[in-house]
Structures are given as C-alpha cells and as structure tokens.
Point group: C2
Chain length 149, copies 2
DNA sequence: ATATATGCAAAGACTTTGCTATCGA
DNA sequence: TCGATAGCAAAGTCTTTGCATATAT
C-alpha cells in the first residue's frame, strides 16, 4: 500500500514505516471494524515486535490524514474503518456485530439531513455520526439476549 | 422527584435513596448533557458525602430503568441526558457544546430511517444514535479551531 | 429483618506519553 | 544527517468493583 510523498501534518513530514503501512494495509483489507487491540493482534502476526503504543499512534495519525476513519459505535472502545467514503453503520446490541449500510444514489436517506439540520440548528454540520442500533438477523433467529444484561 | 414503587431490575427490588433521587432530579432539571463527573460535582453540593462510585452506579441504573439516557457524542466520556423521548444531538467539535435537535411533526427527518434501514440491512432497528458534528454558531463567529488539534 | 445501596479505595479497561534507540528520506 | 518514529514501560483518564457499613422497605 503506497502513500503519497511528503505529506505533512502540523508542519511535520510524515514518514512511511513498515508499522504504519502494515496497519494501513490491514485495515484496507478488512471489511470489519476492529478495535485498536484487534488491529494490534493482527499486525503482530506480521511484525511481532510492534507495540500497542505504536498501533495507537498510527491509527490516530492515519485517521488525521484521512486514510482511515475512527468510529464510535457507542461502546467504550473506538473502532477503525479502512473505508473512508461517507457511510453508516448498523450495530447489533446482542452480538456486537457492526456492519456497513451500503448507500447509493437510489438509497441515501442521510444526505438531506445535512442541510435540514444546519438550517434548524445554525450549526455548520461537518459529519453525521449515525449508528443504527438493533438486532441482527442471526440474533433474531437465535433469540440472543442483549449484550448489556 | 418520585419514582414508581416496587420497580424491579433483574429480579431485584429497586430502592429509592436520597442519592438516587437527587441524581435524577439534577438530570431532569438540566438541559445540558453532563458527564458523570459533572453530575458528581453538582450533586455533591447537596450531598457532600456522595462518592463518584455511587454516581456511576446510579447513572447506570437510572438509564437501565429508562428514566434517563446514556449518550455518547464521540468523546471518551459518556454523557447523561434527563430527556428520554427520542431526540438527537448536534455536537460542536470546537467548543464541545452538545445541543438537542428539536423535532416535531413538521420536522422529523429521522423517523423514516427506521423502516428504510431495517429493510435494507435485515436488522431490527431499536434506536438511532445520531450525532451531527460540526461547528456551532458562536465558534463560527469567533473562528475557533477544532478541539482535537 | 434483611436485601439493597453507599462510601471508600483499589482495580480494571482503554489510551496516551516520556524517553532512548532506531530508522527513513 | 537528523528529524520522525518505534518500543517499552509508566502514567493518565474514565469507569467498575469488592468489601464493610448503613439504610430503605
């Protein structure tokens, strides 16, 4: 996975390291939404000496650079997403699964929210953080109980 | 603030204590979205011996009972909201302000999402957690920088 | 009376950071 | 070369929990 040269962040030159590129590759190859610790476990298979602090620092930097997204699904742990296009998530409150909601021109009930909410509140809306929390089809079938009880 | 008698949670009788009722009263009286620590500071003025652990335990219990809501605006700290009707928040990423988005019959761009997303994903959607992140009018005026930089 | 809740302090979970050595451009 | 990054371990922040005491019903 290559990165454009000479990126700067807060006036510092960003350097490509094996740790950073591996973390980016891993996230781009997944369609899941791992926690920092899960990224660490995966990357450690390729770079056994990597430390969790490096993982956190790189996840933070990559998301500041806009190469990945840091997402929040209502749990204490942040999750990371290799998809950077605007999209939304459904979260199962029984098994914890997080799935993307695919949107396209025929199906984008979110886009119009920007304007409506800006007008309503006077905020300049930059991002919608939308989690739809419910029960995934598998958990419905199995009658699983909510996680939190 | 009174609580109905003989509530049970997980087969245990819920008891009303001064700590619990004070926390509930405080939250119901605020239109802000305080952190647990902010609730603690406010409640301590009335009950100086209360401990932070009690505040956390009661905030958790009151939200399990549906008397308050625990909300997550994308920051590491949970926030608490005395309004339990379905509503949404705008979050300023410069000053951290969290405001309610008032909805009514003429303005509820969210309600239709339930059905659309259920149909799209196969999830039984129970709740929409929507934070609109942007810049509040004051921060636009003052040219404030984002919090995270 | 007794099960539930409190206060306190310790522990837990997750994340950040200081420091020295190493590495990339 | 030399400034940016890594590894390590310690510290930080927020939240939960074990235990003895107090309290609501």
């Amino acid at each position: 996975m290559e990165m454009p040269d000479q990126i700067r962040l807060q006036n510092k030159k960003i350097r490509m390291t094996s740790q950073r590129s591996t973390i980016l590759e891993v996230l781009k190859s997944l369609r899941t939404h791992p926690t920092a610790d899960q990224v660490y476990e995966i990357v450690k298979k390729r770079l056994p000496k990597i430390s969790i602090g490096t993982v956190y620092r790189n996840l933070d930097m990559l998301s500041r650079l806009g190469l990945i997204k840091k997402i929040n699904v209502g749990t204490p742990q942040m999750r990371f997403d290799g998809r950077t296009e605007e999209h939304y998530h459904v979260v199962c409150n029984r098994c914890g699964k997080v799935e993307d909601v695919e949107i396209n021109d025929d199906f984008d009930p979110f886009r119009k929210l920007h304007k409506a909410i800006s007008h309503r509140t006077g905020f300049e809306i930059k991002a919608l953080e939308i989690n739809m929390v419910g029960i995934c089809p598998d958990c419905v079938k199995r009658g699983n109980l909510p996680l939190e009880d």
